[in-house]
Symmetry: C3
Subunit: 471 residues, 3 copies
């Protein structure tokens, strides 16, 4: 017998009645505000080409590392889930069979945000009213595929239906941004902007680092074999990214290390990392030096700087060799900020026009390091709870551990940070509900007046994002 | 005036009425399920010999480091508590006097799990209905001793009354398992199995390490002076442990370090640590190498592997010299897993038939390291909140910090991990109540449907334990 | 339109009705108990001279780094807030203008303890019944200044109105304690005592360290150029501090490192750090050695020892150069205790007459390190949640993470640790409310009997402080 799929209107609100009533009132004011997505990983070609998505498995399973890593952790092979291999290993191509694997193992997601996001997509986006299980797998598969074939489910139509005011994608300096150009040229009014993510030309450990830098020289017509030329090439690409709407840069580093070398030392280090003959410490120092250089460039060109440190990428060697990056095997690690950021802060920490948004995968730093830093330094703001912590309990911990020292106004609203386009409204809705629930608890125990909580709820949902990302 | 001792039927359930009602319904389905205790430290001789326990102090105070460490922390000497000394220092032998010390200081345990476990034992097991304090100390002492003299309080009778389906003890490879053999020979139907805990022959810092390895050679008839012989002796002992019911091994290391040396390097390191002339780094590498070797043997013989890292053992030198191990002076320390486990995971992380259960005393790793690792690697599962964290708040943090990334099905149910046999049902009851309360909160804020919560509650209590420990 | 300022009588109590009712009953018993403030940074000259406070900005903004750091983090310069510069930079002198800056930015403090403390001071101390904002800024400024000019708002009158039974200040060994002497000589009955804070003569990295030691020699008439003389000078100053009421010492170190050097090694290290030619490791070892020496002296003279480790002082170089110490730029850092304290604990950990109170800015150690250490070692007690964590959520985490292993009786009640004299009752009130709310939750889910919770509430508020600080 099928079971009903119902999204309860009070979901995620505190259970206590009077607190829940406050949360409902707060949520009523923010639930219909437009979505601003200032940081994420959707594919701009979707909006440029506006082609239909292929099928349920191709859209919702194969590209979503949150989904397939959980199935993999329980012994279901990535091959059987149709995850494309890099090494030619054959993988399942029957999308219906793949869909059945998700349906048969949907209980694994109980209590996870993936479950909430998927149920939202099934219910709100596709209008399905029975729960996913083996019995309903075919009904789901057919219903989703039928919908995807209609004009209403093309990327631009969903963008508009989702009430997205702006979405930012993330591109490498080597990207020609042709899809962003095409979106502009198309006359479509949806605001899709890029963000400058220079990891491939900033991280000596990145695949093809030296070649990437040479390529950046070709693209810009600047000699990137000297440090000064290399920095100028960054300046040129940042300008180009700005011309296609970028208001921010993004830096995904293993640690938060920053450096502030003398020009001579930086020049020598640059030569060393470009030569390929460098130590792990060299690579770390160079990445750190580039964070400081990027902060300096942000002072020049007003791009907001985002730092996303602390992920041990591609931890599973076998999975990496067969399937490549972003396969659910990136594991957070302990991350230190107080010593690590000091060189950058000593140089630029008190600049009135610089804005650096810090993220973390190490929740222990919320109250110990990040809130005290952001509660003092004018350049620092705190990004929302990130990745594994983009979840109800993760958001609760973020607010409870950051607010008392950092306040609300040193935070920047929500980021969905996702490549799972369908789930974007689900993710923003979770954040809005959790923020309203959090504020309701402060109102209920008289730490905050309700009229102030209403202002804060709107600020967290909308105003702070626009301000922090200079949109 | 004596005060009543009442165990409230709703204890540990969320206070909010509708959430509590859900918790009650969930708990009703799991409260009477049999106890499976897949990891612990009860003494198999109890079940082999089935002799009566001696007296209240001998049973409930002297062997329980949770109890006497708290009294010690407030200035009550271990000598006065009758804790047996190693060095001949005389200790209190008057059990009634010892019992009075507990009674007079019972307020120290307010808010601790020891208080909840003891009250359960007093109330449910011994049927006492007044609170322990100085006034009731004699009543308690006499009542407990009278009960212990009756057949109903012998180990096997309690085992049956407690509805224990299976209990695992933990023995060294040097143990002859005679008590386990005796239990089997006795015809008694209680299932008591062993587990393989090789620390004395795996940890170069263990007292008598080299002698222990020689002894393992004598027991197995294998030449343990070579690395290959030493490994084969492990294989032989593991087989012997399996023959007496073992389904798991257990490894109590100071860190989670693993190593994967070449056979030559391992051979040399083995010679060095056996010679007694080795560095701290050698000892650490050898322990790490042995975790990887043990994982390889588990692939051969199907024993589930448990890793319990992060305890700084015998931190108090004076207490250790006078009283020896396990005297409440083992202190947790920061424990890293992401780098530490990589050698083992690179070698065996994707094996479909291997199962490694990770524990921690460092709660910061729940959301940062353990849930992401277990939510990806097929061989990894997470043991329950352990030792100091085997407590209501500890369990709450475990579920709140693990579930969103790791889900429920990468966890393995509850371990009591105790030598305090009397308290076993009290401990399992706390875990069942806390899990039901946790699930009730997810149902109450509509993150989980109640029918699913019922399934999960039964899985956490019973099914996952059997599956994870291959029982 | 002005908005009302109302302190709700149930503020900070759990929202759930039956739990709130328990909290109310507990709070009723402790709310009027006298304030004991065993550790803080008020200025003894206030109580010696009993002069009126100057004005609202001078009293409530300029000296309060909690307040001005938050404003600074949002781009408001310290100059414009009238914070006195060290380097002659002119700063705002118009106190009314400074007050307007706070008023216009008061929303930044939503959800922070500063907001709660200030509102308490405005409402309870000054009797203001409208909220602070730009519209009411002048009303506030005038009302506060009028009040400060009256006898009822002089320091001694407030001390009595606040029902302070005892307050401890903190002084350097080089201080002549003249204000303390003047208070005694004045015949006023308020108990104001000092505490021995030897950082300037114990920390080789302190400004003027060698000169400070020479000065200690002059003051004591003891030759401080030898290690033995230096230690004896400490003994002499400790005696002098005791004569003016001190019952404790206080140690603000970057880490919790302790050392136990041989007399010869200590002598040599002392010579090295006094010479100015020493390494960072020397400085760290010397500070650690002095913690152990101070513990030894506490055994001699019964002063309770407080250790406050883990603050990275003066993190912002530019702010430090212009404005000096204590400008909101002290950032917590990861702090280890288990290894760090071992030398001291090996030497003195089991002494029945020694008492060492540990604090932390790293909340991860509550359950992992501090509660297990304090739940075993007789000399150790845990200070309350400190500085950034002296907040409702910080207190909740402290109790939830410490109690199950350490119990209540290894804690020492509340410290306000403040130089913001006006806010002292506000801070103690927050602590009393949070403790009652915490206990109410344990009563509500039947982990604690209500009669026991009443005893604990009084102990946490009053009895444990007196006992721990030997008052």
């Amino acid at each position: 017998m099928t079971k009903p799929l119902v999204l309860h209107p009070d979901r995620l609100f505190p259970a206590q009645e009077s607190t829940r009533a406050i949360a409902r009132r707060l949520y009523a004011e923010v639930k219909d505000l437009p979505i601003i997505s200032p940081h994420g990983h959707t594919d701009p070609s979707w909006f440029a080409n506006n082609e239909p998505f292929k099928d349920a498995a191709d859209l919702l399973i194969k590209p979503d590392h949150y989904v397939f890593r959980m199935l993999y952790s329980q012994g279901i092979s990535l091959e059987s889930l149709g995850v494309r291999s890099k090494d030619g290993t054959p993988v399942e191509t029957n999308s219906r069979a793949i869909w059945h694997l998700l349906a048969a193992n949907y209980h694994l997601f109980r209590g996870t945000p993936s479950r909430m996001w998927l149920d939202y997509v099934f219910s709100v986006v596709f209008g399905i009213d029975v729960r996913l299980d083996e019995e309903t797998a075919d009904l789901y598969y057919d219903r989703i595929n039928e919908a995807l074939a209609t004009p209403e489910f093309r990327p631009r139509a969903l963008f508009e239906r989702y009430n997205i005011e702006l979405i930012a994608t993330t591109e490498s300096p080597l990207d020609d941004l042709r899809h962003h150009q095409a979106i502009r040229d198309s006359g479509w009014q949806g605001r899709v902007v890029t963000a400058y993510r220079p990891d491939p030309v900033v991280d000596p450990d990145f695949e093809g680092f030296a070649k990437n830098i040479a390529r950046m020289g070709e693209i810009t017509g600047i000699d990137t074999s000297t440090y000064q030329g290399y920095l100028d090439a960054h300046r040129a690409r940042r300008q180009f990214f700005k011309s296609l709407g970028a208001t921010s840069t993004d830096h995904g580093h293993p640690t938060a290390t920053t450096s502030d070398l003398s020009p001579q030392a930086a020049e020598k280090l640059f030569a060393r990392v470009c030569s390929g003959d460098f130590s792990a410490a060299d690579a770390e120092t160079f990445r750190g030096q580039m964070l400081t250089e990027m902060a300096g460039m942000s002072l020049e060109d007003d791009l907001v700087m985002q730092i996303h440190p602390g992920s041990f990428r591609n931890h599973n060697q076998k999975v990496f060799k067969r399937f490549g990056r972003d396969k659910g095997a990136d594991i957070p690690s302990r991350t230190e900020y107080v010593q690590a950021l000091k060189p950058l802060l000593d140089k630029y920490g008190n600049e009135p026009n610089l804005s650096v948004i810090l993220f973390t995968l190490d929740e222990t730093v919320y109250s110990r390091e990040l809130a005290p830093l952001a509660g003092h330094y004018p350049i620092l703001k705190l990004g929302p709870s990130w990745w594994f912590h983009d979840s109800p309990e993760g958001m609760r911990r973020f607010r409870q551990q950051v607010t008392e020292t950092g306040g609300y106004y040193n935070t920047v609203g929500f980021n969905d940070d996702t490549r799972a386009f369908l789930s974007i409204p689900a993710r923003h809705d979770v954040a809005r509900r959790m923020d309203c629930g959090h504020l309701a608890e402060l109102v209920a125990d008289h730490r905050l007046n309700e009229d102030e909580a209403h202002e804060v709820a709107v600020d967290l949902t909308y105003n702070l994002v626009k301000k922090a990302y200079r949109l």
